[in-house]
Amino acid sequence: MSLRFSIAALLLLPLFAHGSVRPHQEMRDIFYGEILYHAYQHDYFEAISHLDIELGQYYALDEPDLDSLHWHRGQAEFAVGDLELYYRMHQRAGRAIETVLGKNVAESERNEAAFRLARLYYRKQDYVNALHAIELIKGEVPKKIRSDEAFMRAQIYVSVGKFNDAITILKQLKGNDTYRGYIEYNLAMAYLQTAQTELAVAMLDELGKLNSGDEAVLALKDKGNLKLANYYVDAGDAEQAAKYFSRIRLDGPFSNKALLGAGWVAVAQQRYDRALVPWSLLHEREQTNISVQEAMMAVPFAYSKLNVHGKAAIMYGKAMDVFASEIDSLDASIKSIREGRFLTALVSEQADQDKNWVVNLRKLPDSPETRYIMELLAAHDFQESLKNYKDLADLRQHLTTWLDSLAVYEDIIELRRQYYEPLLPQVEKKFKKLDSRIRLRIEQRDRLNERIQSLLVLRRPVYLATANERADLDRLVKIKLALEANPNLATEETLYRVERLSGVLDWRIKSEFDDRLTAAYKNLKDLDGVIDDLNKQYRAFVRTRQAATQSYEGYTIPIQQLRTHLRDTQVKLKGIMARQGRVLEQMAINELDKRRKRLEEYQIKARFALAESYDRATKEQEKKLLEQSAITPEKTANTKTETAVTETSATAATTTANAEEEATP
């Protein structure tokens, strides 16, 4: 066992603490709030879909600065990249962030974008580009990402082999609560890589003594102790190794390895009885675990070393039974995977119940195929493939629902058409009448307005004479004409009366002109109000008619196109999903096959060990009987009978029990 170093070991990082889609300011756009609502529930598809629509509409505006999304524009542009990253659309996320970088933005915004881009590349294990991106950061780093940026930079440096630079940063970061444990572990690994073993050991020792309530940090602490224990095993210091093995929690993720290791340390010291303590504990644990299966072989091995061959034989026998049963289970699992049950379980409703569905997959009833793939489930490639498959299943569901919706929309459109089409000609007729009436009124009003305006320029009182006054004026003109035609009738008195009446009328029309003009102006304004009402009715009518028409017209082609796209995408998705499913199945089968082969080898080993133990147990028994017969010959016959019976495995157990009593210290 050596203290091996691998880059993968350095990739340890806490769950990303920087909540980048969190709002940093007051909500000023209700639709952006809705996007966050979906994002906070990890419903990234809905969040991205809404954000795409909002940003699309925003950029299409003539004056986007007047839109309320303007207040969240920067945040929204970052959110696109973040949400796409969470939805594992790394290519698009990278482009979104690069777009921000390409703009003429403030230094802090640019640094944040560069950090996100570096993080993106790092997660895709593209360390060279990650380094290039992180080195785009110039000047002051925004406070909210300062420690995240430093830790990310250190990780990138480690990944590209700049260990001393990484050590400098990690040393500066020491004491940071967010990365507590991670800094110590990564620092120790970087020390190892630069051959500073003593510093590495000291750092791992420090990590192994950390007090924390965080499960992730505790797991890391266990991992550190395990590394150290293995290091001391390698260095031949059994006592130190035992000390670090004993620091590891019994209920942590490394407890099985620790128990197994502690047993081997005792074996190395030839203290087989002590080895039995951790191994017996391990022996009772979940039988599918590799360490437990090794313990099934190790425990009888220790018993045989203690000369308890009978017990060892029984335990080898039990181990063989377990291995055989597990091999059957593995065969059934492989068969079930090949039959497609594994993929069905992945997209089952139970797997959908919580965000830890990948982890909880193992809890699904009647799914033996998941019991042996715990380690595989934790592997990055498998998890990514699994999530992709799950996402594809969701997309498939979306496409099916949308296609069904299109059929419903067509029904709605048809119903609307049937309802509106017979009504529209009559409505159109009425509309035309109303339209011509409104136009007439508007023309009349315009003429009146023109006349009033001309009166303001050129005073013509007679234009504002009443109908009676006009009639009187006409009558007086006729009388004057009649008097001119018949001068006999034109007495002086008659002429005087006609002149007087003309004068009175003229006086009234001229003297009341101003009041009449004012009244006419007021009446025109009232008429404007009436015409406005008519116009409103007209516009409402136009809108209603337009809405009625638009409710069923102009959809046929877009719906047909959408249906074609949906079907094409469905076919494409089906192919990708099948390929993704096959990859998952193959990975799972390979893993199960690997475990099966290991169990078969254990089985062969156990068979030989069992035979050897029986042999030794029998020899011990014979030796004992011979000794006894030499002391009490009269009892020999009985003992021989008993010896004959020991040929069956059941009697072997009794014999073993006797032998065990004698050999156990």
Partner: protein
Amino acid sequence: MHSHAHKIFRQSLCIVLAALLSFAASANEVSREQIKGLDEQVQDIKKDVLNLSTELAMLEEKLLFPSNTQVSLFVSMHKGDDFRLDSMQLKLNEKVVAQHLYSFRELEALQSGGVQRLYLGNIKTGDHELVVSYSGKAPAGGEYKRSGSYRVTKDVGPKFIEIKIAGPESTEQDIQFRDW
């Protein structure tokens, strides 16, 4: 420091591992290139489906919720309010248009500043009465219920109303309405 027996035992395990490795090499292994290639195809199809989702959403809005009749009712909470909202009911013109029971995740999203569109529908232009009722558990324990009303004046354009609710320990008004 290992004992002879132990060495034999470990050696046998090494043989097993060697056998496993030779088997693994001959097995139908999944390559990283294969995984990467598939991942890129998955990303492409996600992009396609997102584009379709956008197109469909726009068609739906035009067909089902045209702007002249569209009304959207949003629910939000004051940030940091630890009131445990259980249920919400919305009535428009004395008719229940939306009822919702909140999951923990939804509540957390609201408390973090997310805004939920609880109702999207159609109404005529003019005035409409909106009645909001909600209930939940107060942080100190006990049932907490509130209700309030608001006159929605629908014009030609789409109507967006935010209903901001508060818990018993909040200093804010129980229900605040805002026209967007």
